[in-house]
Amino acid sequence: SKKRKDTSDTWALSGSVGGRLLPLDPLFSQDEKYILVASRNSILVYSTVDSLLYRRIDPGQDEIVSCFALSKVDPNKIFVGTTKGKIIEANWINGTTGDTFKLGSRIISIAVSKTRSAKNDIVDFVDVEEPTETQRLKIWKICRWNRSAAEEKPHVLLARPKSLKEIQVRDSGRVIIAPFERQLLCLLAPTSNHAQEQAKEVEWYQVEAPDFIVSLDAKVPTSAVSGPSKNKATATSTVPVVDVAIGTIRGQIYIYDDILSKLVDMDKSKEKKPAGEASKLSPRLLHWHRGPVNTTKWSLDGNYIISGGNETVMMLWQLQTGKRQELPHLTSAIDSATVSPSGTAYGIQLADNSIIVLSTAELQPTAHVSGIQTLISPQIEYELPDLKTVATEQSKEQDSFDASEQIPALLRPDEPNLLLAAVPASQPWTEPSSLTRSKPFLQTYNMSTAQNISRQALTRNNATYFITGPEGNRLGEPDIKFIAISANSRWLATVEEWAPPRLDLEFTSIKDDPASMLNERGIRLESYLKFWRWDKQNNEWALETRIDTPHMFPDNTTPARILDLVADPTRPEFVTTGQDGHIRIWRARQRFRENGVAVRTPAGGPLITWSAKRTVELESPVHEVEDGFTIRLKPSTARLAHSHDGSLIASCHEYAGHEGYSISRFIDPTTGEVVHSRPDLFTSGLAGVGFVSKYLVVLSDSLTVWNLIDDDLHYQYQLNSHLRMPRFLAVNDTSDTFAIALPYWKKGKKYRVAIFHTSKPEPVFVSKRLDTVTALLSVPQQSGYVFLNDQA
């Protein structure tokens, strides 16, 4: 989510915008004009006609949504479950919230059915009890709560220490199907009337599943649901026909026809044990997916199954002919899918935090909704087993080499509502989340209207391609490390990096020597600096110039990593610094022929190329190892800042392991001369540097505010946090303030944002406990700040 602070004298935290959608099935309204989705903070109702946000239902202060379901009695009503154990009734048409019931400790899934009289809703939900002193295990409970008897406590149907993702309730609450990791539990509730149900003991059928279940759909064939019309006695005494399709973590889909009656038969005949009875339970197997089947759904008529996984392909299985139809190249992995009530549309939630509505006939998208797609680290309640899958291999790949501290993001100076952020292709819920996923795309998001504007690939990427190497490893994509935008918003500079995966380099490096691996990967680093021009006609960034390996070590063969990129606030110029210790100032130059006529592009515009106007060679410190042997140190971290008037560049270089050499320099961008340097502005843990009026703010293990005019320390804080998590600094010249985001530990990683005014050493605002911050931005020409957290 994204929050901002207001400008007035009193600072305050605004509401969040554009959070991550929960991995729940989106729900269609009965008339299919609206689709309901859930984010952590609210239930969002989007129109399927124009993809605009129609309504937003907030469950209340400090409540975090975990699940929701439509009422079966009143289609305008929804039930929202929260992580604080509350179930909230709300009307999504008018946005009013109704009654709130405290029913459990943490509700993670909810399913609604109606009583046979169709007067009341039966709400079945999954409640998670955290371990206590007496109870060591987390307990998942399936509870039933009858809306009409609101005062009564919910009735616990089952409590188990195994994790559970969702429950499915069918046939007026008579059937509950619940996947407990490797087990499938089916409840056939006694055929009593609703009032007496709670007192009765209920029996569950438990069968071992062939594999870990990640998705499940139970279907009661339409013809079988003829309950009220028939004689009630016979309708309730027979076992309902329930077809179950489950998707497993290894990609198989198993279909069990009429599972419930078989289980009942087996139970009844357990003394007799007729031969061949067991094979009746044998399923049908559909196997196309390689990875987990994130979602499996029956079509309305029961002739098809639709499934989706991390392959970005939606599969339609025609069961009678064995044919399958594929809808490939969705932009991202599929997290969940639903079929609309009339069967004319599929609502598909993609793992890039977006939802598309497809018409079933043409498979064409009719609506598209997207939130902010930046990296997230959500807490998934349903614990997946540690499989040797592509994804886990991928996570082993990660190392400090790529650990980016800040998500590359910025706000457009001409339209401060537009957030530009580097985003990954997809983050499916079945893959371990990681904040080090590579981010090859640029998303533009309007924060005021909570709308996705565009998504553009900045590097080569393989979002929808065959993404597995021969050893089963994921093929890596280049990662956008830095983005910067010129003051007139016409130019965008991006820095991307790519290095071969570790597996491919194992043979070159010394075994078990991370340094050698690092070295080998460094040699093969691909580093690009790209300059993009804003193309107004097509509303996209057009690549103007690509600089290969903008920084190179003095040997002229080894590429150097770029450590920071900033834009000049006055001119279309960008400044980079790299591990080679140099600073380069890049400038656009219009090409002219010898006769002075401007060279034009085929489109008619002036041909502009970017090149390094000036290279400032900073002297690298020389460190004496013993015996007079010396090495030239490489900076491990560097931060640049441009003064507001563009007259001065501040550069801070840190040499990891050699704190004494840390140095801050001030450079005149016109001449490229180092006008001043100071060794004492910071020591280690450099995180950010910025100019605020006459002060230079340096955030490292300490917070230093330096008076440039007097060349004197204004004030300094020693920060005692030793958490190895990134800190963030953003400066706002409009309000003479700067903001820092600092991590601290309190039952997990937490962040706190503090805003300082240059005039006084005390913060003017300190926020409450926040989730992990991934970027902190200052709003241009305004006095606010925006930060992104790991819930997007």
Binding site: E203, Q206, D257, A275, E277, S279, S282, L285, Q320, G322
Partner: protein, 917 residues
């Protein structure tokens, strides 16, 4: 044991092109026919193998040899109508086997001789498919003159369908159902829907239905045009009919279709395969169907329950598996009471047996395509190794030093003239005589190693054989250890013995007179009337000489063992051949006259009388081997003139000296029962009484593949019997008793016959059989596809009783069977402890001293095994240096020949190898 693990023998197993069960899937009442259930496997080299399922044991009975450029492309069994005797007893009809190859003829095989019986070439065009009419069933009052046999229908390349009559035990062209069409669309497959209606699939995307009574075309069903981008015509590769008459077809688009039985309208089509569907079949109840094809998949379908009020039931594709490593061409199903299986085979030469009823709960079983009669032999003394296939014999020399890179050398290659494949080869123990048998003749060669430094060469010279051997072929030849006798098994199962005479120069002469051995008549009268003809049951599968060549035994499929003893002493002064034709009127008769008593050099073979005969065994003996004795007590050679010379009163004196040696014959049957007999007395030995089959080690009992061969390694410390199958090597120390698990064997005064009856269905069979349908053993709980077969009820009630698991399966297997599913080709067979360690232990002297000699040992390390042959422990003077380990004779040296599947020279599969499983 010193093992030369060799892969140099380039034995090419042959692809499976056709499969046929001798019985149609019977109803559950009819279990009798399972006794005569055989699987005929037709291979690309023209061989037809007959396998006996034997309730899941699957052992190879016999092979009908093919020849050059012959191939078996289709097989069909029929059974003559049962005959009801006047007293009401029913005699089952005879089984008859027909095959087609790449020719225009249909061949009938003589099951007893293994030779083609008759051909029918009614058409000039190649026959592509054949099918047998279903058996006649009594419906309503019998009509006079109604044909009750099963006719054969053959589909040809020019699109004709020819009906062949099998009446009066003949095979004759009867009529054409269709004439060649203009398009000449090949008829690719044919099957009977009922006794009168034939369904045939053609290469012009059509299935046509004919009435064989009048040859009219009942209906033509078009499958439409092929998929876009592919060929226009769909090839209908396979059609089969369900019990209700519905038609199932598999075609070149990878689709399986179902058609209505009455209107021939398409009911359903399922795209199941990624490439051509080559074969389809259905279960007896019509609820399960299978298909297989060039994408190597075996797909199972099941008829789903009717849903939602409609009565119509749809087929659904349950799952597919990929067992084969290459294109699959043939499929055959048998679904009876005790066995419910289907077999598949293809280019990868392996046969797979899949469960039908136990689908998903039992493993499929793989049966290696390597022959069960090891086509290798070795001469211990000269270190020669002989291998053969088709029409070629290769002779190798194995060097002692395994440290050399190249420790084997191809010495000679003998290519036989003629078309017939080699049936059997025997190499004498001294490596000097080679006997080769084909269906046409028996040839003998003399081998001489000549050392021409730096290498040795082998000189091969033909030995003149008697006329009787030249003109008629043989199934099996065996040279006696002393190289004086050649036993020849004729195709009609007559056993002949030839006497070889050696002169000082080493030249060999075969005496022209050939002795016909007389066998005991079939003991079991019933077998004469079984549907597998009694002659077939009498097919001899094993012949064995004792170590001193004075006892000769044969065994046949029915389990009878015949034995002969050589009486008298050899005397070179005696007449070479002395024919006592006193009992016979025709003095000129030689080999045809069974009554003539022939004495060779004072010695005569004497058939052991019925009184002392080894009792008939319950199942076919697969291994006959004499237990060697280390310290052979040489009977004192009578000096002077030991042979009886003719006198006036006794012109044909008969020697009566019975050799005094201690003969113990070890017999291993197809059920892996182990017996030891004294062939002279016909009695079971004391050792065998103590060590019944039940006391065999459990690991051996669990082994599913049958043993193929045996070797002995006898030292003063142990008497080791090494047995091997296609994937396993076992060692038993026969000098010790197996530990009896059920207490000491009872030794009261039962007769042997009683005892045999008591031992029926020993444990080993039960462990393998119970609860399975004839394919592999039960899967482990965790490997069963789909939900586990266990279910339990959980209740939230307060009674606190623990919910019990309800296992929805018959409690059929003990726990240990669950955990050990050895013998499966599909899953890694449980890795035995460390092989090398184990092997050391076997030979480690200290360990032997501590624990006593190892009683039992086995390994699954080597596979698939083509054969193991022992090499001599005799050490030539020049090679003594390598004799490092232990005392002389402590080390058994063998050549173990493996033919791993990746070593086979197979054409590229139809569907690319890059495809991931």
């Amino acid at each position: 044991m010193d093992v030369h693990r060799s892969r140099f023998v380039p034995y090419p197993p042959s692809a499976i092109h056709a499969l046929a069960f001798s019985q149609p899937s019977g109803n559950s009442k009819d279990t009798a026919r399972e006794d005569t259930l055989r699987l005929a496997v037709g291979r690309a080299n023209g061989d037809i193998e007959i396998w006996n399922p034997l309730k899941g044991t699957w052992f190879h009975e016999t092979t009908f040899r093919g020849g050059k450029d012959r191939s078996v492309e289709g097989l069909a069994w029929i059974q003559e109508p049962d005959e009801t005797e006047e007293d009401g007893s029913v005699t089952a009809g005879q089984l008859r086997l027909f095959s087609i190859g790449y020719s225009s003829s249909v061949t009938e095989w003589d099951l007893a001789t293994g030779l083609p019986l008759r051909h029918s070439s009614g058409n000039a065009s190649e026959v592509w498919c054949l099918a047998a009419q279903p058996r006649w069933e009594k419906k309503g009052p019998p009509r006079d003159g109604e044909f009750r046999g099963q006719n054969i229908i053959a589909g040809c390349a020019d699109g004709t369908l020819a009906l062949l009559s099998t009446a009066s035990n003949d095979l004759a062209f009867q009529r054409y159902l269709t004439r060649p069409t203009k398009k000449q669309a090949r008829c690719l497959c044919v099957t009977f829907q009922s006794r009168d209606i034939v369904v045939a699939g053609f290469a012009d995307s059509a299935i046509r239905v004919f009435d064989i009574r009048n040859g009219s075309l009942v209906r033509q069903v078009s499958l439409g045009s092929g998929p876009t981008g592919g060929p226009k015509e769909i090839l209908v590769w396979s059609v089969k009919c369900l019990p209700n008459g519905d038609i199932m077809s598999g075609d070149s688009t990878g689709e399986v279709r179902f058609f209505d039985s009455k209107h021939y309208s398409q009911l359903q089509r399922l795209s199941a395969h990624e490439a051509d569907v080559m074969a389809v079949d259905v279960s007896r109840d019509g609820e399960t169907a299978f298909s297989t094809g060039t994408d190597r998949r075996t797909v199972t379908y099941r008829l789903a329950a009717a849903k939602g009020g409609s009565k119509r039931r749809f087929w659904s594709r349950i799952s597919h598996q990929r067992h084969h490593s290459h294109d699959v061409k043939a499929l055959a199903a048998y679904d009876g009471k005790n066995m419910s299986i289907f077999a598949s085979g293809g280019t990868d030469t392996d046969l797979y047996i899949h469960p039908i009823r136990g689908h998903g709960e039992e493993y499929s079983r793989s049966i290696s395509g390597l022959p069960r009669n090891p086509p290798v032999s070795a001469a211990q003394a000269s270190r020669l190794l002989v291998s053969w296939w088709d029409r070629e014999v290769l002779i190798w020399k194995i060097h002692k030093d395994s440290r050399q890179l190249e420790n084997h050398k191809l010495m000679a290659k003998v290519a036989l003239k003629g078309e017939e494949n080699i049936a059997s080869v025997s190499l004498s123990a001294n490596g000097k005589i080679l006997a080769v048998a084909t269906a046409a003749e028996v040839k003998m060669f003399r081998l001489q190693i000549r050392a021409i430094p730096p290498s040795q060469t082998l000189r091969i010279r033909k030995i003149e054989t008697p006329k009787a051997l030249q003109t008629r072929g043989a199934r099996y030849v065996e040279l006696s250890p002393d190289c004086k006798w050649l036993a020849v098994l004729k195709h009609n199962n007559d056993v002949q013995l030839c006497r070889l005479v050696h002169d000082e120069q080493g030249a060999v002469e075969v005496l022209p007179t050939v002795l016909n051995l007389e066998r005991h008549p079939a003991q079991d009268v019933n077998s004469m009337f079984s549907s597998l003809s009694g002659n077939y049951e009498r097919t001899i599968t094993n012949m064995q000489f004792s170590y001193d060549s004075r006892v000769f035994v044969t065994s046949d499929l029915s389990g009878s063992i015949d034995s002969w003893v050589l009486k008298g002493h050899e005397d070179v002064t005696a007449p070479q051949v002395d024919v006592d034709d006193s009992a016979s009127s025709d003095s000129d008769s030689d080999d045809d006259d069974e009554q003539a008593e022939i004495t060779f050099l004072g010695q005569r073979w004497w058939h052991i009388e019925s009184l002392h005969k080894i009792p008939k065994l319950e199942s076919t003996p697969i291994i006959l081997t004499f237990r060697p004795t280390l310290d052979e007590k040489k009977a004192p050679e009578p000096n002077g003139n030991p042979a009886l010379h003719p006198t006036r009163h006794n012109p044909h004196p008969q020697p009566h000296d019975v050799p005094g040696g201690d003969y113990r014959l070890i017999v291993l049957t197809a059920r892996h029962q182990l017996y030891e007999f004294d062939p002279l007395s016909g009695r079971i030995t004391d050792w065998s009484q103590r060590n019944t089959t039940a006391t065999l080690p459990a690991e051996f009992k669990k082994y599913r593949d049958r043993a193929m061969g045996a070797m002995w390694h006898v030292t003063p410390k142990w008497e080791r019997l090494w047995l091997y199958g296609t994937s396993c090597v076992y060692m038993f120390d026969m000098s010790q008793d197996f530990e009896s698990e059920n207490g000491p064997a009872q030794t009261n005064g039962e007769t042997e016959g009683d005892r045999h009856k008591k031992r029926k269905r020993p444990e080993v069979q039960r462990a393998l059989q119970v609860g399975t349908s004839g394919a592999g053993s039960k899967k482990k709980e965790s490997e069963v596809m789909g939900y586990g077969r266990k279910m339990r009820k959980l209740s939230t009630g307060a009674d606190g009783k623990k919910p019990a698991w309800v296992k929805v399966e018959q409690e059929t297997q003990s726990e240990e069977d669950d955990s050990d599913a050895v013998g499966e080709g599909l899953k890694p067979i449980r890795s035995d402890v460390d092989d090398s360690d184990e092997e050391e232990k076997v030979n480690d002297e200290d360990a032997v001293k501590e624990r006593g000699p190892t009683k039992f040992w086995f390994t699954y390390k080597y596979r698939p095994i083509l054969g193991i042959v022992p090499l001599s422990e005799q050490v030539d003077s020049g090679e003594r240096d390598f004799k490092s380990r232990g005392q002389d004779g402590d080390v058994l040296e063998v050549v173990l020949i493996e033919r791993p599947p990746w070593d086979l020279d197979l054409p590229p599969p139809f569907v690319g190898v890059h495809e991931r499983d």
